[in-house]
């Protein structure tokens, strides 16, 4: 069994979305300052969020991110990209369209000095070409497994089979632990209530989520019971990216050998003045309430790799020799 010291923690800058979107004066520099305060050095950056130009940011934008990161002792390890297959209304993306998006993200990942690209959905018939491209750019490409997908799903297992057939270590998964949610989280319920959802209708949706009704049937039912847009949003989430059910751990084991790193949402555990865990619900509630506005979305990597030099093939640096930059932060715990 692995010890916790072997788990490397990083943070996705996506964690700071709410502050970033709502505040004009909040930028990547502020995010890196937060990472420094958390004691986390490695970060994932999402291109379509962080850059003014996407899929290819201006060189100055990349430079600004790298300079700010360096100022706070932070290092990018993964680049979050997309396959924007719906970019043109009514146009079915061609293979060239997909490969263009993938290439653009690989170029940016290399410019940033990342080891990984968290890519969008790459069609199975293009995976071999994607592996060759990833090899050329010296980047590992991971496809996220996110709720409502589950590791045992037919399409995920088909993807796994393709990975095994191709046999390239450049291809892999990035499982998001959100696909193991067994019931809706309290923060999700609080957010929906704040949007105006009725508790009794949320309870009804949760209780009947797995009775065989479709999302549309559930919405028709809840609307007839007086539900509105907030309840509709809840149904979307509980049938979609916040889907819940028995954790698919057996399926997860099948993905592990092909997983580059993992995503996990975490919340801080309130600690008392003596450093011990503080279990007082009220204090924990307030603390968590603050974190909801910018909670860390932690990416856990499986392997320890040396930092890359920007645009190069990687290698030792002073950062690589820094003592234990990935220790588990004592103030955060998986939720």
């Amino acid at each position: 069994m692995s010890s916790s010291a072997e788990i490397e923690l990083a943070v996705s800058l996506y964690s700071f979305t709410q502050r970033f979107v709502e505040r004009d004066d909040y930028g990547v520099e502020d995010m890196f300052r937060s990472l420094q305060q958390l004691g986390v050095r490695r970060f994932e950056i999402v291109g379509a969020q962080a850059f003014d130009q996407y899929p290819r940011p201006r060189a100055g934008e990349v430079d600004r991110v790298l300079a700010a990161a360096e100022a706070y002792g932070c290092v990018p390890f993964s680049y979050g990209g997309y396959i924007d297959s719906g970019r043109i209304s009514g146009h079915t993306p061609t293979d060239d369209d997909v490969m263009l998006d993938l290439t653009a993200d690989l170029v940016t990942a290399r410019d940033l000095g990342c080891h990984y690209l968290r890519a969008g959905n790459i069609p199975e018939h293009l995976l071999e070409a994607a592996a060759q491209l990833a090899e050329a750019y010296d980047i590992n490409v991971g496809i996220e497994v996110h709720a409502p997908s589950r590791p045992s799903d037919e399409d995920i297992q088909r993807l796994l089979a393709r990975y095994e057939d191709i046999g390239s270590p450049r291809l892999g998964f990035i499982p998001d632990f959100g696909c193991f949610i067994e019931r809706p989280t309290r923060p999700a319920i609080r957010r929906l209530l704040a949007m105006g959802a009725r508790q009794d209708l949320l309870d009804y949706v949760i209780a009947n989520r797995h009775t065989g009704v479709s999302e549309q049937e559930m919405w028709d039912d809840v609307r007839a019971r007086g539900g509105g847009n907030a309840e509709r949003a809840a149904i979307l989430e509980f049938f979609g990216f916040l889907s819940f059910g028995p954790a698919d751990l057996d399926g997860f084991r099948t993905l592990q050998p092909w997983s580059h790193y993992f995503h996990s949402k975490v919340l801080p555990r309130q600690r008392g003045p003596d450093g011990s865990a503080n279990s007082r619900p009220q204090a924990a509630h307030r603390h968590r309430g603050r974190w909801l506005r910018g909670r860390p979305d932690v990416r856990v990597r499986r392997t320890r790799l040396p930092p890359r030099r920007r645009g190069g093939a990687g290698g030792a640096s002073s950062a690589a020799r820094a003592p234990d930059p990935f220790g588990v932060h004592p103030g955060i715990t998986a939720s």
Binding site: V21, D52, S85, G86, P148, Q216, N229, R232, G240
Partner: protein, 129 residues
């Protein structure tokens, strides 16, 4: 993922209190501008705009009176759906330049309808919507 409906919590930032301004040239006021921001967590290609309608006092402003401005570029509404290489940043401003002769000093009800396509997700059409 196929779904039918999505709602994000940044509606309040789409139209800010200072979003509406007079469009004044040397000849005088020729219209108004309206600054629009995204209700989303990432930037989108301009072509992700499915529908853009502007109503003033309940009357729709004809498309030919509107130029859509993103950074230094201008687009007629009819070309927005073609602008798939133009990225609307998540913190960026889309400026609607409306050449309607201007608004008189009375209070006006300005309604904006903006439907955006989520370009990396597959959304199903809702019957009757």
């Amino acid at each position: 993922m196929t779904t039918t409906y999505m709602k994000l919590p940044y509606e309040d930032r789409v139209l800010r209190p200072d979003a509406l301004r007079q469009l004044r040239l040397s000849s005088g006021v020729v219209g108004f501008t309206l600054d629009v921001r995204l209700n989303y967590y990432r930037g989108l290609p301009l072509s992700a705009i499915e529908d853009l309608e502007l109503h003033v006092g309940g009357v729709q402003v004809p498309d030919h009176l509107i130029l859509v401005g993103l950074r230094e570029k201008l687009f007629p509404v009819s070309q927005v759906r073609l602008a798939f290489t133009e990225h609307w940043p998540v913190k960026g401003i889309l400026r609607l330049n409306v050449y309607n002769g201007g608004l008189d000093p009375r209070r006006h009800q300005v309604n904006l309808t903006l439907h955006l396509r989520n370009v990396y997700m597959q959304f199903a059409r809702v019957s009757g919507a």
